[in-house]
């Protein structure tokens, strides 16, 4: 359901729900916490630089977790870093989203077997919304992941459906 699908032909009138407007506003200005961990951070930088320009999605890197909506975990999370990462996540204001970028943060990547100091997947410490595979993922893959996240935001409801609603459906 697009936002503009119920538009009247003349006049600036659009019919939608309050939730639809809120979600639309939110998904078009998801601020990203500028937080690079390892190799994937370079591809994240490339995604925000000239050729790919992720800013056209309304992404602005913010240095503070308090001002950001999305944390892109770009790179290997080590055991020493995991507690700091969790604290950063907890400092973000809700609703907050986590994108796990690259094999390392998905599951440990090439370090899964002998990495005595590598956390095998960032989902062991924070909940993840979108996983992007690749080592490192191309900037295009990051854009694809970003659009998947936007789809997720579009269907967000502030009123949680009751258990009986599901039963009726």
């Amino acid at each position: 359901m697009g936002l503009l699908s119920q538009q009247y032909d003349d006049g600036n009138i659009v019919l939608t729900t309050a939730e639809g407007v809120l979600n639309w506003a939110r998904l078009c200005s998801l601020y990203q916490m500028s937080f690079g961990l390892a190799c994937c951070a370079i591809e994240m930088m490339a995604a925000s630089a000239s050729h790919n320009d992720i800013m056209r999605f309304g992404v602005i890197p913010r240095p503070s977790p308090r001002q950001s909506d999305v944390m892109i975990v770009a790179g290997t999370v080590t055991l020493k870093m995991a507690s700091r990462l969790k604290r950063l996540y907890e400092q973000m204001a809700e609703p907050r989203y986590v994108v796990s970028m690259g094999s390392c943060s998905n599951c440990g990547g090439p370090y899964w077997e002998h990495g005595y100091h590598v956390l095998k997947g960032v989902d062991r410490v924070v909940p993840v919304d979108v996983y992007i595979p690749g080592c490192p993922p191309r900037p295009e893959a990051l854009l694809e992941g970003w659009m998947r996240l936007q789809e997720k935001v579009r269907t967000f409801t502030t009123v949680r459906p009751k258990a009986t609603d599901n039963a009726a459906a």
């Binding site: 055991l79 020493k80 440990g108 077997e113 005595y116 100091h117 095998k120």
Partner: protein, 158 residues
């Protein structure tokens, strides 16, 4: 003038008779006792014929036979020659004299060797772990190291 390892060895034995030269054509090196490494290094650095002003690398190594080692790779910017020194210590009492006062490069390298191998450098000003968390137990690059099941509530193996 660039010197070869045997001629540097000749040079050193006058002052340090306890050194031995490991005869290996491909990778010759000088074996130094753990207590004397700092004096040897000072001599190598300060003598104008050797002038080793650059410590390229300092590596810990576990020989897997109950001994640990420290390998020093030196280079001279003026003479363009290189030298390898080795120190072998028993694993149950791994004490080596620190060369951190000779080359400041050794400061972090020795901390790393302490962190990953548990080699204690006597006379180091600040021997702490450098890569692993301060509360980590064990020295992970030892050949018989076993990975702990949990660290701070996080599962370590896959």
């Amino acid at each position: 003038m660039a010197l070869s390892t045997p001629s540097i060895f000749e040079h050193l034995t006058a002052a340090f008779p306890e050194l031995t030269l490991a005869h290996d054509e491909a990778a010759p090196c000088i074996i130094v006792p753990a207590a004397g490494i700092k004096d040897v290094c000072l001599q190598l650095r300060d003598h104008p014929d050797t002038a080793f002003d650059f410590l390229m690398s300092l590596s810990g190594i576990d020989f897997a036979d109950g001994t640990l080692g420290v390998v020093y790779h030196l280079a001279s910017m003026t003479h363009k020659h290189k030298l390898t020194l080795k120190v072998v210590v028993p694993k149950d009492a791994p004490h080596v004299v620190s060369v951190e006062k000779v080359w400041r490069t050794a400061d972090w390298h020795e901390r790393e060797a302490f962190d990953l191998y548990g080699i204690v450098f006597d006379g180091h000003r600040d021997l702490r772990r450098i890569l692993m968390p301060y509360d980590w137990e064990g020295h992970p690059l030892l050949k018989d190291y076993e990975v702990p099941e949990f660290y701070n509530g996080m599962k370590v193996p896959y």
